[in-house]
């Protein structure tokens, strides 16, 4: 009971601290902008810890953060192997292939109005396919190793990327295109000098959406068959063995990897589209 009361107190304290920070004049500084979410995160972890202990929640239902942290620290080699298998091979492999193929297809589609009219609705329809359904099929087709995971990722990221890129390539204004006409520019000249740069914000939007999709796709696909390594494998096996601390350690890895992946793409985006109003602040 004491712990529960303490948890409520911690929550109030964290919120109070954040209110002070967020409404202070310093709230626009970079430090505070990082500090506030950090305090929020730490508060949530503390409350979680206290509630789990205070309410004596069973270890096999929800482990406390401290237990998860301990497991994380003691299982680094396993976590690394799983990370390499799932993220580096499956997710990243599929991401590169899927986004690359979508980009090339987008150029093709964009060249022909007919294709664009025909392919985009079909693409939207296919994008609505729940991948949980395609995963067992793709495992059957591409085997148990990372190739099938990459295939699932390709299927997941292809259409969001395609739709974004096609939209981006059409982003130029009539005036900008007319300008190219007055120069009697060829297709590829106007592609590289106008349409591609103008499309970049959209392309990056697609790339960003695809990061989380890639991660989720690779992990989910492992539930449908995998070698005895991988984050999805570990999660499902560990649930069966009631090793919930291990499950959460893997979830932490997924969240870290996902955020880092997303952050990286966002960083690259910043350096490529520095000129876009949304990046100029």
């Amino acid at each position: 009971m004491l712990m529960v009361v303490l948890a409520v107190l911690v929550w109030c304290l964290g919120w109070w601290l954040n209110s002070r920070l967020a409404n202070s004049p310093a709230s626009k500084t970079r430090a505070v902008q990082l500090l506030v979410p950090a305090i929020f995160g730490i508060t949530v972890l503390l409350v979680w810890e206290l509630l789990v202990r205070g309410l004596e929640v069973s270890l096999v239902i929800l482990p406390a953060p401290s237990v998860i942290a301990a497991r994380f620290a003691s299982s680094l080699p396993i976590l690394w192997d799983d990370f390499a298998q799932t993220i580096l091979k499956g997710a990243l492999g599929g991401y590169v292939i899927g986004c690359g193929a979508a980009f090339l297809t987008a150029i093709l589609v964009d060249r022909s109005d007919f294709l664009r009219r025909g392919l985009l609705p079909v693409g939207n329809f296919v994008a609505a396919l729940p991948i949980v359904g395609t995963a067992p099929i793709l495992v059957m087709w591409f085997g148990f190793d990372w190739q099938s995971k990459a295939a699932v990722v390709v299927v997941m990221v292809f259409f969001p990327m395609l739709v974004n890129t096609v939209a981006g390539l059409r982003e130029t204004s009539a005036m900008q295109r007319d300008l190219m006409q007055t120069y009697a520019a060829s297709y590829w000249q106007s592609f590289f000098k106008l349409r591609l740069p103008a499309a970049l914000p959209f392309v990056f939007n697609g790339l960003k959406i695809s990061t989380t999709l890639a991660l989720i796709g690779a992990i989910v696909a492992e539930f449908f068959g995998s070698p005895t390594v991988g984050m999805g494998f570990r999660i499902s096996t560990s649930v069966g063995q009631l090793a919930l601390d291990m499950v959460w350690a893997e979830i932490v890895v997924a969240a870290l990897a996902g955020s880092a992946f997303y952050g990286l793409v966002a960083l690259i985006e910043k350096s490529f589209t520095f000129w876009h109003p949304s990046q100029r602040g």
């Binding site: 096999v60 239902i61 539930f223 068959g225 096996t237 649930v239 069966g240 009631l242």
Partner: protein
């Protein structure tokens, strides 16, 4: 009536016919019980459900139950309707596998999610490693929901149950002559399957034990009825299958095979079988499933009262 929730280990199929028959035929009602049957699924760990209080009693395999016990979740076997194990390894004959020794350097499909323990014990007893291909090791795949890895020849052998997956291989057009099977029973590494487990702390509550006595009595009545009327039992299972995916032939055949496994059990756990299971799980090399002799992992209290 008293409420009882039963968590199954897997989806609705003839493997659990006894419980569905007891429900359908009103055996539970006769015992003044209001039973809810929760089907399982690929990602549901019955042990976790019972730990969370989502069910009163669950159908589980003993290796998983004992492993959970070591993890600090005190599950107790209160009844054991299944006498023998239905687990086996099914291999392509043309892959050149004749004896367990030939498994070395092969790719094998294995169920995980707490169902890998019997296989791991067996391999460690054979002294075969499970961490990749090699002279003295096998490559293990986490087998999905179906028998595709064998049919697609992605694996040389896969895990099957005598009553289920084996027949799916046959249904896919493979003739039994093309296959070689290794039953865990025959290999002497059989572990107990499909027992009824409850939380130890609940057994201190007389009301609960009373409920369980009535539950086990009615369930065994259901099992005996199912054994005697396999076709009707299969129909009852089909009626209860909400997914509409099960077929009549498959369930009738499954019921026939299940009856072979339940035969010889009156519901009470045979301590000898228990000893053999524990021995199998503890035996063998470096990585045993359980490390110390379990205490109080089973009781006859319920069956004694229920079956007298």
């Amino acid at each position: 009536a008293d409420d009882v929730t039963l968590q199954l280990k897997w989806v609705t199929q003839a493997q659990f016919a006894g419980y569905y028959v007891a429900l359908d035929k009103g055996f539970y009602e006769e015992e003044d019980l209001n039973v809810t049957i929760l089907p399982g699924g690929p990602d549901i760990a019955p042990t976790q459900v019972i730990a969370g209080g989502g069910a009163d009693v669950t159908v589980e395999w003993m290796p998983a139950a004992l492993a959970a016990r070591e993890k600090g979740l005190p599950l107790v076997n209160i009844a054991q309707p299944f006498k023998s194990s239905g687990m086996m390894l099914t291999c392509w004959k043309d892959a050149g596998i004749e004896s367990p020794e030939d498994l070395k350097n092969r790719t094998l499909g294995v169920w995980f999610f707490g169902n890998e323990f019997p296989f791991m014990s067996w391999m460690s007893q054979l002294g075969i490693g499970t961490d990749g291909k090699g002279e003295n090791s096998v490559e293990v795949l986490k087998q999905g929901f179906n028998v595709d890895p064998l049919l697609q020849r992605q694996a040389d052998c896969i895990s099957t149950m005598t009553y289920n997956e084996y027949w799916q291989v046959i249904d896919a057009g493979v003739s039994p002559d093309e296959l070689v099977t290794f039953k865990y029973e025959d290999q002497g590494v059989a572990t107990l399957e499909d027992g009824l487990y409850v939380l130890e702390e609940n057994l201190e509550n007389p009301e609960f034990t009373d409920k369980m006595e009535r539950f086990v009595r009615a369930s065994m009545k259901g099992w005996k009825y199912a054994e005697e009327n396999p076709d009707e039992a299969a129909e009852i299972v089909l009626d209860n299958d909400a997914s509409g995916a099960q077929t009549e032939t498959h369930q009738k055949r499954m019921m026939g095979e299940i009856a072979k496994l339940t035969a010889g059990s009156n519901g009470a756990l045979d301590p000898a079988d228990y000893e053999r299971t524990v021995e199998t799980l503890m035996g063998g090399g470096s990585d045993p499933v359980i490390t110390k002799q379990p205490e109080g992992a089973w009781t006859h209290a319920i069956t004694d009262a229920a079956l007298k």
